[in-house]
Amino acid sequence: MGDLPKYLGDAGTRAALLEKLLDHVYLSLVPLLVSVVLAIVLGLLCHRFRPVNAVLISLSNVVYTIPSLALFALIPAMIGTRVLDPVNVIIALTLYTTALLVRPVAEALAAVPSHITASATAMGFRPWRRFLTVELPLAVPVLAAGVRVGSVSNISLVSVGALIGTGGLGTLFTDGFQQRYLAPIIVGIVLTLVLALVVDLVLVLLRNRLTPWVRAGGAP
C-alpha cells in the first residue's frame, strides 16, 4: 500500500492511466449504446410478434449463461474477426447487454395501458409516431433500470478482456500480477468502481430528464 503515492506520483504513469481509463470507457459504453438501440428494436418485435418473443427470450438466457472469457474467444471463431481485436469484446458485451435488456423492454411496451395507446390513435398519431412519442417514453423507466445494471456489469467485464489482449483498466491487473506489484491493481479496482458509480449517476440524471412526469408525481 505504501507504494501507491510513488506509483501515482509518476507523470508517465498518470498519463498511461488516463489512456487506459478512456479505453475502458470506450469499450464499455459503445456496447451499451448499441444494445439500447438493438433492444428497443428487438423488444418492439417481441411485443408485436409472440413467436419472436419466445425465441429471443430463450436465446437471451443462453447468451447470458456463457462466461465472458469464453464468449470473447468464441466471437472471432464465429464471425472471423482477428483473435486479438478489441471488437470481439465490444460484440460480446453488446450481446450480453442486449440479452439483458430485451425482456424488460418487451414487458414495458406490453405494460403501456391500452387506453393511452387508444387515445394517441384517436388523436391521429400514426403507429410509428405513437411508438416513438408515447409508448417508448413510457418504457424509459424500465429501460433505464436495465441500462444501469448493464453499464455496471459491462464496466466490470471489460477488465476480463485484458486476458485476451484488449486494453482498458484490466491491463493494470495483468501487469500488476506479472510484476507482483499491488499498486496498479488497487488503482485499477478503485478506478473501475469510481467509473461505474459516475456512469450510474449520469444514467440516473438522464432518466430523470427523460421522465419529468415521474418526478411531478402525476400519472402519464
Binding site: V62, Y64, T65, I66, P67, S68, L69, A70, L71, F72, A73, L74, P76, A77, V83, L100, P104, A108, A110, A111, V112, P113, S114, L138, A139, P141, V142, A144, A145, G146, R148, V149, V152, S153, I155, S156, S159, V160, A162, L163, I164, G165, L169, G170, L172, F173, T174, G176, F177, R180, L182, I185, I186, G188, I189, T192, L193, A196, A219, P220
Partner: protein, 246 residues
C-alpha cells in the same frame, strides 16, 4: 475452419489423459465452483433470511450487494492472490466474495416478496417467529433463492475460468495457454468447454430448483404472476423494477 480444428483439439485422446487433461480440469473447475457457492450460501442465506425476516438493514444490504457487482473479477482475483501470498485459498476467497451478493439478494428478495397477507395469516394462526420463517417464508422464498444460487454459480464459473490466469488448473487454462502460444484450436476448444460447463451447471441447478420449490408455491406463483401481470396492465404508472436483477 476454426471450429473444426477446435473440435479436433477437444476430441484428441492426448488431451483426455494425464494430470493436465480435460477431465482433470473440469474436476478442478467444478470443485472450485461448487465449494465457493456452498461457502457463499452458508454466509449469505442465513444473513438474507435474517434481514428479510426482521426487515432490518435491507437498504444497506441491497446497496452493498449492488456495489459489489461493479467489482472487476480479474482485479479481485489478482489482488487477493498477491495479498494472500499466492495460495489457492485466496482464489476460493475471491470466488466466495463474488458469489455472496447474488445469493444474498435472492434470499432477501424472496423473503421480502412473500405476500404480507400470508405472513399475517400465519401469525393469526398463532405461529411463532421461527415457525413463520421456516414453514411460511422459506418455502415461499425458494424460487428467488434458487435464482440467486444460479446467478452465483454463473458468476463463479466465469470467474474460475479467469482465475486460471493466476495459475490454478481450471478450464480457463487451455484457453489462456492457447492465446499465449497462438494455438487457436486449443483457445476456442477451451472456450467451448467453459461455455458447455456453464450451460450444463445452470441446467442442473434449474432442475434442483424445480425439486426444492414446493408444489403449492409453484402453483400460487403461476396464478400470482398472472394476477400481477393483469394488475400491471391496468396500473396507469409504468412499473420500475429496482435495477437489482443480475
Amino acid at each position: 475452419m476454426i471450429f473444426a480444428d477446435a473440435f479436433g483439439w477437444l476430441l484428441d485422446p492426448v488431451n483426455w489423459s494425464g494430470g493436465k487433461s480435460i477431465p482433470v480440469r473440469i474436476g478442478v473447475h467444478l470443485l472450485f465452483c461448487v465449494g465457493a457457492v456452498l461457502g457463499a450460501a452458508l454466509i449469505a442465506v442465513p444473513l438474507g433470511l435474517f434481514v428479510g425476516h426482521t426487515g432490518r438493514g435491507g437498504l444497506v444490504l441491497v446497496g452493498g450487494s449492488n456495489a459489489l457487482r461493479a467489482l472487476p473479477t480479474l482485479g479481485l482475483v489478482t489482488f487477493l492472490y498477491l495479498v494472500g501470498g499466492g495460495s489457492t485459498v485466496s482464489v476460493v476467497i475471491a470466488l466466495v466474495v463474488l458469489a455472496v451478493p447474488p445469493i444474498l439478494a435472492g434470499t432477501y428478495a424472496g423473503v421480502q416478496d412473500v405476500d404480507r397477507g400470508v405472513v399475517d395469516a400465519a401469525r393469526g394462526m398463532g405461529m411463532t417467529g421461527a415457525q413463520r420463517l421456516w414453514q411460511v417464508e422459506v418455502p415461499n422464498a425458494m424460487p428467488l433463492l434458487v435464482g440467486g444460487l444460479r446467478n452465483a454459480m454463473l458468476q463463479v464459473v466465469a470467474t474460475a475460468s479467469v482465475a486460471a490466469f493466476v495459475g490454478v488448473e481450471t478450464l480457463g487454462r487451455p484457453l489462456l495457454d492457447g492465446i499465449r502460444v497462438l494455438d487457436y484450436p486449443q483457445f476456442v476448444g477451451g472456450a467451448i468447454l467453459i461455455a458447455l460447463l456453464a450451460v450444463v451447471l445452470d441446467a442442473v441447478l434449474a432442475v434442483v430448483g424445480r425439486l426444492v420449490v414446493p408444489a403449492g408455491v409453484r402453483l400460487s406463483g403461476r396464478t400470482r404472476s398472472k394476477k400481477a401481470q393483469s394488475r400491471r396492465r391496468e396500473d396507469p404508472a409504468p412499473v420500475e423494477s429496482g435495477g437489482s436483477t443480475a
